[in-house]
């Protein structure tokens, strides 16, 4: 393992600046200059390319490996979308340009893309409006709950400061609610991950602003009472937030807006196939019902009667700005391309096949792994390694065993309400053969639990490193390469 700093020699260069055609002068006074140049790598272009190419080969990605990471929707990322995001008319466009007097005229293509995508998402999810500003899923959650807060504030109901959050929720839900000024109150889930209606009734009250519900839920189930849940929250004067992290399972088949949700975010890097980038950038559009429209972030993108597009900053009740401009435009271009490529008919095929693939795995693996819930799941199936734990093999060991078999592990130890959880999301872009190979690998691991559990404790053995000492990393943090 060599760092980029360990390569190259003093004075070696990869970059040559164009000849400077003005006098080499500067308005940076000597007293304000740094004492020494930043100690950056000194390598050739080949050194750099070889270093990073070899680093990339130490990663599993969707293009190289099956990646059934539950809740993350690691589907295939079409390559034409990469070309679109790099088109010079988009990539070179300065965001301030649209805000200069007369500048809207020069950015009509970009504004049209954004405007159309907002309409598509509103239609697809059953809402009145959509904002594309949030820069990730959690940023969308924050935006959504800020809209709820603004709604109540505008009505003078400042005592509604509690957000209900089911115990099965992603950690971002309570964290986002707190950032928006709410206090969190937990609602229990039943064995299927459905909201416990009795507990919900007990937790509702005059102080409740709303409920954040993941739909389909975090155990991969469609809450059988979802409409009832929304009605109970509405009857108590609250609003319903839909965490759309799992929207891949329902697009084209059911619309959260029709179920009673008031606000929803989607993760374009999940449902709409923008690349995950090793952990971002993503985008987290937020869709709302009519009554939340006045609070959306500014600027809004509008279509004028003459068919041209413009920015509207004049929204006095707006929560303000969530991103510096119009969101992660380069990412949103890719999701817009995905929506257009699939079209109306493609949406339902996505959700049908995503659900079919997950249930296929659920049934095939049922003889080998325990399931807390045995009914038809949505886009992901959740197993519990309890049977294996009895033999000393944990969910973590199963995950590491999969790595040795060339498969990225499922999400493990989430949701928290399932002990030793293994959350498997195959997505619709994987074939039956790939699923069958995965099933074989999982069966082999299940058998090893009986015959050779030790080999799973040692796994992985085929990767550049074995299991890492995370305790040491946290106890003695080494977060940057020391200067030599």
């Amino acid at each position: 393992m060599k760092l980029i700093f360990d390569k190259g020699r003093s004075g070696r260069r990869a970059y040559r600046a164009p000849a400077c055609d003005v006098p080499m002068d500067s308005a940076v006074p000597a007293a304000m200059r740094r004492s020494a140049p930043a100690r950056l790598p000194e390598v050739t272009e080949l050194d750099a390319i070889r270093h990073f190419t070899n680093l990339s080969r130490k990663n599993f990605g969707v293009d190289s490996h099956f990646y059934p990471l539950g809740s993350c929707t690691m589907k295939y990322n079409p390559k034409s979308h990469e070309i679109i995001a790099r088109m010079p008319g988009f990539a070179g466009l300065h965001p301030w340009l649209a805000q200069l007097p007369g500048g809207e005229k020069l950015t009509q293509g970009a504004l049209e893309t954004l405007y159309r995508q907002e309409r598509f998402l509103s239609e697809l999810l059953g809402f009145a409006e959509t904002t594309l500003q949030p820069m990730a899923g959690a940023n969308g959650e924050f935006t959504g709950v800020m809209l709820i807060a603004a709604y109540f504030k505008a009505r003078g109901k400042t005592t509604r400061n509690v957000m209900l959050i089911p115990d099965a929720a992603h950690g971002t839900n309570p964290a986002s609610a707190v950032q928006a000024g709410f206090t969190c109150r937990e609602v229990s889930s039943d064995a299927e991950g459905n909201v416990d209606l009795n507990d919900l009734a007990a937790k509702l009250g005059d102080d409740v602003a709303g409920l954040m519900l993941t739909c389909p839920n975090t155990v991969g189930m469609f809450d059988r009472n979802v409409e009832q849940v929304c009605k109970m929250v509405h009857d108590a004067g609250g609003l319903c937030y839909c965490d759309g992290a799992n929207a891949n399972a329902i697009i084209g088949r059911v619309r959260p807006g029709d179920l009673g949700f008031d606000v929803m975010h989607t993760n374009v890097h999940k449902t709409f196939s923008t690349p995950h980038g090793g952990g971002g950038p993503g985008a987290g559009p937020v869709s709302v019902v009519e009554k939340l429209r006045p609070f959306l972030p500014v600027p809004r993108i509008i279509c004028k009667p003459d068919g041209s597009y413009a920015l509207d900053h004049n929204q006095p009740q707006s929560i303000g700005q969530i991103s510096a401009f119009y969101g992660n435009f380069g990412v949103l271009l890719r999701s817009c391309a995905y929506l257009l490529m699939l079209g109306r008919a493609g949406m339902i095929r996505v959700s049908e096949n995503a659900v079919l693939n997950a249930n296929y795995l659920r049934v095939k693996l049922a003889p080998y792994y325990d399931q807390k819930i045995t009914r038809m799941c949505m886009h992901e199936c959740v197993f519990s390694a309890t049977r294996q734990v009895a033999k000393g093999v944990h969910a973590l060991d199963i995950a590491k065993g999969l790595i040795d078999r060339g498969i990225h592990p499922p999400t493990i130890y989430f949701p928290l309400i399932i002990p030793e959880a293994l959350m498997i999301e195959p997505t619709e872009t994987e074939s039956k053969e790939t699923l069958d190979e995965f099933v074989e690998a999982m069966i082999e691991i299940a058998k090893l639990t009986d015959t050779d559990p030790e080999s799973l404790h040692d796994a992985p053995v085929t990767m550049p490193v074995k299991r890492m000492d995370e305790t040491l990393a946290a106890r003695k943090p080494d977060l940057a390469a020391p200067l030599q």
Binding site: G11, V22, A27, V28, M32, L40, E45, F52, L55, S56, N59, F60, G61, D63, H65, P78, I84, M87, G89, F90, L93, H94, P95, L97, P101, G102, L106, T107, G109, F120, M135, A138, H170, A175, V178, G252, P275, G278, G280, G320, S323, F325, F329, V331, A337, R344, E352, N353, L356, V363, R375, I403, V465, K466, M468, D469, E470, L472, A473, A474
Partner: protein
């Protein structure tokens, strides 16, 4: 069927496996009722060729102009190899490195990113990235509150109006008091005396920009000395390209440095994706938001990398987390690392010097025009303010018609400065383009 692998025969077979005759039965068993209406607002699907043609048409509706617009986001040259690296699909089709053994590529790259950003800012530690500069400013305010448990944030109006708007939007429901300190009306500087006067023992943080929104380089040593006495956290919002030349926030004594790393190899792309960074001293590393990568060893003692200090984060701490951030801008952090690797120690300095040279050349050319005056203290990097004899909005509008995006008119964000124009010049602008702009300005006045 695009992007769906199962054939009709596969589907029939799999439906049988799961005990359903058809999809209707599958949905019913999954308890999915209330079917969506026909989605008439959605278009028919497109082939790849149609899709590319449509987006090419849209992209060409955006008109190219010679840009002198900065305001925190700059049109720099990007070495070709940057895109080669970030186009490696092992990088861009992977996800958060929760399984370190299968993610050493991403993890080592983030560690190297943290290292180069630490060297550029002169700060000890840097996190794995935040969404963008504005959200980083907000996170710095929250971080200060966590450290000294105070609630007052002092911010200079010479901090980007975009960042101040975002800070106020994000913090709207936080128990934070945000006090904006007006500019020195005579030039394009913060009012240092007002900032110093505003500081007290109840102040959580003071936030300034370096160089400031107007491109002016301000001296902050007096401020950081005073904050240390009062245990106020000092935050510098930085332009990383300028840091190639300038005294680092670390040298000046700032506690936290944040900013947007767009200038490090990211295209402007109409506002994103960009790169938020946050850096601090070792003393405060455990108060940082977001992901951090650390170096450690595996069970055989072999060095490697993991996500670390995770006890701060939402997936562990839920409502008590330091931030709600989950995904960050990993591919953008990789972009910045590759950019800084390729430009390298000397190359980055050279690029920065060219920015400075072209900016002072542009300032001199433009200020030769009768009626145009430079407004600033004389120290700037690649952006500066001029005062025109006419309304700057009108000037910008007229210049756009001549093919120049001449800069950002300041009146919208700074009432009273309606005649002032903020002009940025990067290494990408040629002498000809600069003199062309000056000529066009002369013509419209």
């Amino acid at each position: 069927m695009p992007y769906i692998a199962n054939t009709d025969a596969d589907r029939a077979d799999m439906l049988k496996t799961i005990g359903c005759r058809d999809f209707t039965e599958m949905w019913a068993a999954a308890q999915v009722n209330t079917p969506a209406p026909p989605l008439d607002g959605l278009p028919d699907g497109m082939s790849e060729a149609e899709l590319l043609k449509y987006f090419r048409m849209l992209s060409e509706k955006n008109t190219d102009v010679t840009g002198f617009v900065g305001g925190g986001f700059y049109d720099h040259l990007i070495p070709a190899a940057v895109d080669t690296v970030i186009s490696r699909s092992e990088f861009y089709t992977s996800y958060t490195p929760y399984q370190p053994e299968a993610s050493q590529g991403t993890l080592q790259a983030i560690y190297e990113y943290q290292s180069v950003m630490s060297r550029l800012t002169g700060m000890d530690v840097v996190n794995a990235s935040l969404y963008d500069g504005g959200s980083a400013v907000y996170e710095s305010a929250l971080m200060a509150m966590r450290i000294n448990r105070r609630k007052k944030i002092i911010i200079s109006e010479a901090v980007s109006p975009v960042y101040r708007t975002m800070l106020k939007s994000y913090a709207a429901n936080q128990p934070l008091e945000i006090i904006e300190i007006p500019l020195d009306p005579e030039n394009a500087d913060s009012n240092l005396n007002s900032l110093l006067t505003a500081l007290d023992s109840e102040t959580a943080a003071v936030i300034v920009q370096y160089p400031n929104f107007f491109g002016t380089i301000e001296a902050w040593d007096e401020l950081t000395a005073r904050t240390k006495e009062l245990k106020v956290l000092s935050v510098a919002v930085c332009y990383p390209m300028a840091l190639a030349l300038l005294r680092t926030p670390g040298e000046i004594g700032f506690d936290i440095a944040v900013g947007d790393g767009q200038c490090l190899g990211m295209p402007l792309s109409f506002g994103g994706a960009y790169l938020g960074f946050i850096a601090t001293s070792n003393a405060f590393m455990r108060k940082l938001p977001g992901r951090i990568v650390g170096k450690t060893v595996d069970k055989d003692g072999k060095p490697g990398f993991v996500l670390t200090l995770q006890a701060r984060e939402q997936h562990i701490r839920r409502e008590n987390a330091m931030s709600n951030i989950c995904s960050n801008e990993n591919l953008c952090a990789l972009t910045a690392l590759v950019y800084l690797t390729l430009t390298g120690q000397e190359g980055l300095m050279e690029i920065a010097e060219q920015n400075a040279a072209k900016a002072i050349f542009a300032r001199n050319e433009i200020c030769k025009i009768s009626g145009i005056k430079y407004r600033g203290n004389g120290a700037f990097f690649n952006e500066f303010v001029v005062e025109l004899p006419i309304n700057a909005e009108e000037a910008v509008s007229a210049l756009l018609k001549k093919g120049y995006a001449a800069g950002i008119p300041l009146g919208t964000h700074y009432p009273g400065r309606e005649k002032q124009l903020l002009i940025a010049v990067t290494e990408k602008r040629t002498r000809e383009e600069i003199t062309g702009l000056a000529k066009a300005m002369e013509e419209i006045l």
